[in-house]
């Protein structure tokens, strides 16, 4: 979109640009203005405004939808850092509403109940950038082909269990490493196997990296979890239930921010991990049956 004075808004470069600015940071789920202030005070680089954190969505059941605009506006007014919010997969009208509210990033999220079981949102039609979850490289590239400007692992949100996020990051970065070693003929096969556009597969082979930033989300509960995600190749982390479902959110939030910056420095990680009180209890994967696995939502 170009204005009369020659400046353009909502270009891929401008949208991906905000994702670049969030690298090395922590994006925290918050449900009210008070939590948003705690997150900003702790050094969050952005907040995700939502009515219930994933652990509560999981507990309550029922249909989970976009949050009340009044609540999102309350959080926007409370902080100076970027504010993100979630829409249901395929629910482009919820996205139109969030764009009208002026949120800075939209998460088309499997944590909410999907609105469309075949299609994701056409994200090129929006000025606001989108982040989408992925469990593997094919899914990540399909989301980029629809206009996503940031990819995050899905993990298994609301469990406090990092195992699924680790699986997803290893899937994504492992296949990226293999593609950079592939010859031209093999790239056609990679595109078929991944069910992803050939052009994007060739771009990875050429540049050696994914076209947009890849962040980690789903199950981060401790500073060590955040540093693990970063050492595996994540470029920033989302922390959902892990902070405000713990015993003492403010110091834990600050510790996770420091761990994300100094993710290779074990001395710092040891220092910030001390005396944080109990993390969220967490759920083992075999305690969750198939229909309650958020990561399986998305196509």
């Amino acid at each position: 979109m170009t204005s009369t004075n020659g400046s353009s808004v909502g270009t891929q470069r401008v949208k991906r640009g905000l994702a670049e600015m969030l690298k090395g940071g922590v994006i925290m789920d918050v449900v009210n203005a008070e939590q948003a202030k705690i997150a900003e005070d702790a050094g969050a680089c952005a907040v995700m405004a939502l009515e219930r954190v994933p652990a509560d969505i999981r507990r309550d059941g029922g249909v989970a939808r976009m949050s009340d605009p009044e609540m999102i506006e309350g959080i926007k007014a409370a902080v100076t850092i970027p504010v993100m919010a979630k829409v249901r997969i395929g629910h482009f009208v919820e996205a139109q509403i969030l764009e009208a509210l002026g949120v800075d990033f939209i998460d088309e999220s499997e944590v909410l109940t999907p609105a469309d079981e075949t299609h994701h949102i056409d994200k090129f039609g929006f000025t606001v950038p989108f982040v989408c979850g992925a469990t593997n490289l094919g899914e990540a590239l399909r989301r980029v082909s629809e206009g996503a400007c940031m990819i995050r692992s899905k993990g298994e949100a609301g469990t406090g269990n990092i195992v699924e996020a680790v699986r997803h990051l290893r899937n994504i970065f492992g296949d990226i490493r293999k593609i950079t070693q592939a010859d031209n003929a093999e790239l056609f096969q990679w595109a078929k196997t991944l069910q992803a556009p050939l052009g994007l597969v060739q771009e990875i082979a050429e540049t050696g990296k994914f076209p947009v930033p890849i962040f980690c989300a789903g199950g981060i509960a401790t500073p060590a979890d955040a540093a693990l995600a970063m050492q595996l190749g994540g470029e920033a982390v989302f922390v959902g239930s892990g902070i405000f479902k713990s015993d003492d959110p403010a110091p834990r939030a600050k510790a996770i921010v420091e761990a994300t910056t100094h993710f290779r420095d074990a001395q710092v990680l040891a220092r910030v991990s001390r005396g944080l009180g109990a993390p969220m209890t967490g759920i083992a994967m075999d305690e969750i049956n198939g229909t309650q696995r958020f990561a399986e939502r998305g196509w």
Binding site: S7, V14, G24, E40, T80, E99, V128, E258, T261
Partner: protein, 194 residues
Amino acid sequence: MNPVVGVLALQGAFAAHAECVASLGVSVREVRTPEQLEHVDALVMPGGESSTMSQLLLSSGLFDAIAERIASGMPAFGTCAGMILLASEVLDGRPDQRSFGAIDISVRRNAFGRQIDSFETAIDTPFGEFHGVFIRAPRIERTGAAVEVIGRLGDEPVLVRQGNVLAASFHPELAGDARLHEYFVTTMTTARKV
């Protein structure tokens, strides 16, 4: 001896800056600790969240170390949040937000608006036309007498220099254009004599 350029890597777009500097054939290091700062001759401060970086500067001990180095002449180049960190006055910042006061400008955080207002456009500079990418960008509302305005968007300054400090409200590192980094490295930076 060739200079080593550091990129402050606490949070933000440090990777894109490091790529720009490396594309010039110049050695580049990420800086997260005072110890790492000792090994660089100049420092690039990237965009990101200035409130986050300001806190991490204090907890890492880098705030005082960087302030000392800049005062003793180390060249510094800040973009967007990095410019806010270098400014003498920050408007609409957090009350506890600190800045180095290394360049005599007043900047207003996020003054160009939220992300839906972020834009890219052409800027006139002595290096020729520059493609400016503005992301939730700060505005330079005042420049002191010692500050040289190098680039403007319409009437307002967006690229400024005072002595060893260069600051831009936009993101040259996102446009794949290393001319500003080249200016910073070749005309402002020399390796320290050991």
